[in-house]
Subunit: 426 residues, 2 copies
């Protein structure tokens, strides 16, 4: 194609966690969806192209949600008085069972995809259900919407309600069929191997899924160390492993292909070392960890060990789709860890949390989440003029304020890989 | 006047913290702004009156914000990387100084009052600044808007920037002039004596303010035990008092007239006993306590001691005006206290937090925050149909979901003391 676009406005992004770069009235230029320049002026070679001038608006990278359960969308904001395991039994499993019907899936997934779009989540890593056809519906809707995602057909063959349990070989066979069918989607929508979590997957299933991940060169997502009851359960199911993390590791679900693990709240030092060694990404889901009373993840320790970290909405353990709100909640929780638990856990800075919600999670997709050269151009245009203020503010302050008090009403345009993404509702 | 109104819809309210009452297609009836009946049918004596039928919408009490700084409205969502004392110096004091100009005040207060209206805060307890004229402007705007509030001219005569410090006698004289001028406002907008906090008020000022409170029969608001640096400061300023709480008590700012104290995070048991004995209300401000890294207030302990508790947005230590969001944050913080600090602090239930945001804070205004007989009819009509769901939900679930994921777009009508309140922007 060789299409060149030039966006002009007030640009903000984080090339690294401690650097919030801001460019007043700057330009970001992309060719074929990939950034070739971001700076204060237009290099001579691009001066012939039209400029899309966003005036005094902010231009920021699109948000990356590294963990959400699309089929739980109808349950968001419900059952907030429960911990993980009873919450799964009461709200989650009965809802997920309905996705045996692809027509039901199409309605819910359509609403969910629209909400991703509305909130500026340009990339996401999603759980579907065990149902391959419904999972393909979700992928189709994302592709049609122009949003990018990794989407997983869930696998579970033990310790689950009868209506959600798979026979091991059938689970693997369905996964293969689904992986083959996923090839129909473009580069923006891709499959991810998705064992639900250790308690609901036999060793045989985990081993088979690891083989498929390698064979198809597909990444892996799952849950790790969210809740004390869950951790004890895993220990009793796998006495042969020295910890929860190593159950995944010993089944080759970490360290072979890229892997992202949601939560990671109660990891031991040894487990953190394993995460670092395998460069397994942590999807930190602050709202979910609060709602289900799971605890506060040791984010500062994970950062110090150089473990990759993204942020997740965890719909519907988390209730908020907006990654702007998820990132401010991550900052808040880190402050409470510092104030109430241990002053060695320095709170997250705005820059660190913004990085996690953009480039931090974006690295799972390749070069995503920044305006540096070589990065796919995912961007949000933010018009914050309706946020009343009588003072002059810096771009950093305007970003901070929008993240804290703004909402979807201020996002006036979304770009994914260099293309404007219109509302999926038309 | 003798005006009778009858509202019909799905009614939810909390007569006590453990009882979330719901009435499907019920009626709430008010005469002259005061509830005379709330139930499943209309008593015969009222059958002649027109019914305002809100269909399947929810009808809930209006929200009560027991602590907010109106002049800090422009600063919301800024400086979130600072603790209390540096945050006051950098952001708060310079902004408050501008309110020497009543025209500046009128612009900011107008925007703030509109935001209260937008978010369904029908009653609030507000700090102004030291400037009596601007404080009267805030009262005038609230009165015109039809919202109810206690509003305080702030007093500070030590340890403050030169541009915000008052001479003690002038501070008291101004307060008297302002109290007299406040008589022009109706029953919905009333003055409240407002020493900023101990570090910025001399003993002489505190004693004089306590006398004025008694003379004019006006309640008192201030801050208490928010931050360790602040607490140490108070201890060094008042070695004669055994604790921070007793500085107020010994100056007759607690236990004489009704008093509300914001924060109360780090109270000792003895201080909690004093709060209980004097029935001083705690204004719990969860977002502010997170943003300024102050810590998690021991709400369960305060409840167990029968201390009255309301919730506060604490604009702009807190960034969120919506009390629906403040109450869900209060629940979340209480879960983190339980999970990370001490399992004896049982998390707040939805019912308890909703009570705090309505009747709990409302008791400061008299009979406010409930649909029980004798309560002033403050109500919000919530149309949650745009919150996508394919399942039938109970009224309690619909309320929970709206509180967690809804926003001002779903509030389609507000009532204060039996009257519809139109947008202050017209």
């Amino acid at each position: 194609m060789n299409s060149t676009i030039i966006l002009k406005g007030n640009i903000l992004y984080t090339p690294n966690p401690s650097a919030l770069v801001s460019i007043q009235q700057g330009y970001v230029i992309a060719v074929d969806g990939v950034v070739v320049h971001c700076g204060e002026s237009i290099p001579t070679v691009y001066t012939e192209y039209d400029v899309v001038d966003y005036g005094d608006n902010l231009i920021i990278p699109g948000f990356v949600d590294t963990h959400a359960h699309a089929p739980q969308y109808c349950n968001r904001g419900l059952g907030m008085d429960k911990e993980l395991l009873p919450w799964l039994e009461t709200y989650t499993f009965p809802e997920e069972a309905k996705f045996i019907d692809p027509d039901y899936a199409r309605l819910v997934y359509g609403a969910f995809v629209h909400d991703l779009w509305r909130n500026g989540t340009t990339r996401s890593i999603l759980f579907g259900t065990i149902h391959k056809d419904s999972t393909l519906v979700l992928m189709e809707l994302l592709q049609k919407a122009g949003l990018s995602a990794y989407v997983g057909k869930v696998n579970m063959d033990r310790n689950s309600p009868e209506f959600l349990i798979e026979e091991t070989n059938q689970s693997l066979a369905d996964t293969k069929v689904w992986l083959d069918a996923s090839a129909q989607f473009g580069p923006l929508v891709k499959p991810i191997i998705t064992p639900r979590f250790v308690p609901s997957c036999t060793s045989e299933l985990m081993t088979g899924l690891a083989k498929l991940a390698k064979e198809y060169d597909v990444p892996v997502q799952s849950h790790l160390s969210e809740n004390h009851g869950e951790i004890d359960w895993v220990a009793s199911l796998h006495p042969e492993s020295s910890n929860y993390t190593d159950v995944y590791y010993e089944h080759h679900l970490m360290g072979t292909v890229p892997t992202v693990m949601a939560h990671c709240i109660h990891l031991s030092d040894v487990e953190m070392d394993r995460m670092a060694e395998t460069q397994t990404m942590v999807s930190h889901c602050p709202y979910s960890n609060v709602n289900l009373s799971s605890g506060i993840a040791p984010i500062r320790k994970l950062i110090e060990r150089n473990i990759p970290i993204g942020l997740g909405s965890d719909i519907s353990g988390g209730h908020i789709v907006s990654m702007a709100k998820v990132l401010t909640e991550a900052i808040g929780l880190s402050k409470m860890k510092w104030a109430e638990v241990d002053p060695n856990y320095a709170p997250l800075t705005l820059s660190e949390a913004f990085y996690m919600a953009t480039k931090g999670g974006g690295q799972f997709f390749g070069h995503v989440g920044s305006f540096e050269k070589g990065y796919e151009l995912d961007a949000l245009i933010i018009d914050d003029t309706s946020l009343f203020d009588l003072n002059e503010r810096s771009l950093e302050e305007r970003l901070e304020r929008w993240l804290y008090v703004g909402d979807d009403r201020h996002i006036i345009e979304r770009y994914v890989a260099g293309r404007v993404v219109p509302s999926p509702k038309g």
